[in-house]
């Protein structure tokens, strides 16, 4: 029973993503289902922010997590995210071609053909919000299996962010807390600025990494083996589909989807390490990441909020990550995300947390570096 519970509690996103897809297919006001589910998640997350659970192990210290099941779910999520884009493309096609409004029934699902401009906007936001959640699978799969790394690249390429997989493993994990890690937000930066700077910095890193790898192998940059170029080519089917279905409307829809998805990705990076400092060449410790592990956040985001443990034991599967008593916001990602959207509010909220970090966790040198930044 415990095994069943531990393994199914991480299915919130798969279930909600599928409901979002059904909403897009169903049409009418149902295309807003993704937005509504995101809002409901924020409410539940905020309401349960004080519940924090530990990872579950049996008496012999073995995890209840079933690796083959969790990986099967993560791999299948690639298909779910593809279906999400296809459902949106279908709606864009109907909008551009002025499909008549009509009602059909398909296996009990009522489908309204045709779509208004307002509902198309809702469909794009719904799809963007849930495409962005793909980061939680893209992230986990970047770490523990070679084929998983490839699936991670494909999932991220659906959001135009295939560079993430390489940049996360080879740059962020190595340099977090340093100014040469674009994914670590220094004190004073807001989430909007961070999104662009972090995205551009990680793209540049992936380019440099691949240039160096090809040089070592004696290959030209313009090669079929160029993983940096290949990563962006993986996004090509999305571009072709959206352009085919909607022309300029399709391009605008895809760009909007990518902006929303990448904003979510970078918001997670932003919240994970905001303002934390690590001396150059010093080891990564629990204190160099913020934990967000309230119960709903933990289950929804497949424990990506257990950043402190993850960055010290990078080989550990998400269902085995635990509370290691690192710096903790004490609230979930949804609640914190809403705060980050208002930069003055976020700075004010973070002041007490950063003061606490400076006093309780930082060493002399880290405090010295911190003093160079304001809030």
């Amino acid at each position: 029973m415990k095994t069943l519970f531990v393994n199914t509690r991480y299915l919130i996103v798969p279930v909600m993503s599928i409901i979002t897809i059904l909403g897009l297919i169903s049409g009418g006001i149902n295309v807003w289902a993704g937005v509504a589910l995101f809002g409901i998640s924020a409410i539940v997350d905020t309401a349960t922010k004080n519940i924090h659970l530990r990872a579950d192990f049996d008496e012999e210290g073995n995890s209840y997590g079933i690796k083959i099941f969790q990986y099967a779910v993560m791999y299948l999520m690639l298909i779910v995210f593809v279906a999400l884009q296809l459902a949106l493309v279908w709606r864009i096609y109907q909008y551009v071609n002025g499909s008549p409004f009509d009602l059909y029934s398909f296996y009990g699902l009522t489908i309204q053909t045709g779509i208004t401009t307002t509902n198309l906007i809702g469909a794009i936001i719904s799809a963007g919000l849930w495409a962005g959640i793909g980061i939680i699978y893209g992230h986990e799969l970047s770490h523990n299996k070679k084929e998983g790394f490839f699936i991670s690249r494909l999932i991220m390429s659906l959001s135009g962010a295939s560079h993430f997989t390489y940049a996360h493993v080879y740059q962020h994990h190595l340099h977090l807390g340093h100014e040469n890690d674009p994914a670590t937000a220094p004190r004073g930066r807001n989430v909007y600025m961070h999104t662009w700077l972090s995205h551009a910095g990680q793209c540049k890193f992936s380019y440099d990494l691949e240039t160096s790898r090809l040089k070592k192998k004696g290959k030209s940059f313009l090669s079929l083996d160029n993983r940096w170029i290949l990563g962006y080519l993986y996004s090509l089917p999305s571009i072709v589909l959206f352009v085919w279905a909607g022309g300029f409307v399709g391009v605008a829809a895809l760009l909007s989807l990518w902006v929303i998805a990448n904003f979510e990705l970078e918001a997670l990076n932003f919240m994970g390490h905001y303002g934390l400092i690590r001396e150059k060449n010093k080891p990564v410790e629990h204190k160099h990441s913020w934990d967000n592990d309230s119960v709903f956040t933990d289950w929804f985001f497949i424990a990506i909020g257990r950043q402190a443990d993850h960055h010290v034991r990078g080989e550990t599967y998400f269902w085995e990550l635990d509370d290691v008593k690192g710096p903790n916001y004490g609230i979930g990602y949804f609640s914190l995300f809403l705060i980050t959207l208002v930069p003055p509010l976020f700075r004010s909220y973070m002041k007490k947390h950063l003061d606490n970090w400076d006093q309780k966790y930082a060493n002399e040198k880290e405090r010295e570096i911190a003093s160079q930044y304001g809030y």
């Binding site: 770490h143 523990n144 299996k145 070679k146 790394f149 390489y166 493993v169 080879y170 740059q171 994990h173 190595l174 990494l209 790898r213 070592k216 192998k217 060449n281 010093k282 080891p283 990564v284 010290v312 034991r313 990078g314 080989e315 550990t316």
Partner: protein
């Protein structure tokens, strides 16, 4: 009936220190060694820094990440692997200098 899923007990022998690591099929090499008190040099534990590199002399591992971005072609040809991203498949004989680049892990 479910022997197919059962993990086999395996042994990893380290040279020149002659220390041994007991683990099961599919276990992570570095994590198992660290859990058994072996001071294996390491830093990132995601396969990006190369501090845990060692030479696979005998046996089979399954790489959990592409080693190409960290190890050069000569090292790969010589059998070097990254312990933090190696899933153990059979008994192993590994050459690792447990005192090398100590500063990578401690400074």
């Amino acid at each position: 009936m479910f022997n197919f899923f059962e993990k086999k007990d395996l042994k990893v022998k380290l040279i020149p220190s002659l220390q041994k690591v007991q683990l099961k099929t599919g276990d992570n090499l570095l994590a198992s060694a660290l859990a058994q008190g072996i001071k294996w040099p390491h830093k990132c534990r995601v396969g990006s820094c190369g501090t845990c590199r060692c030479k696979l002399v005998e046996g089979k591992i399954s790489p959990e990440i592409d080693f190409e971005n960290v190890l050069n072609p000569e090292q790969l040809k010589e059998g070097y692997i990254l312990a933090c991203k190696s899933s153990v498949k059979t008994d192993l004989l590994i050459h690792v200098n447990l005192h090398k680049e100590k500063k990578d892990n401690t400074t």
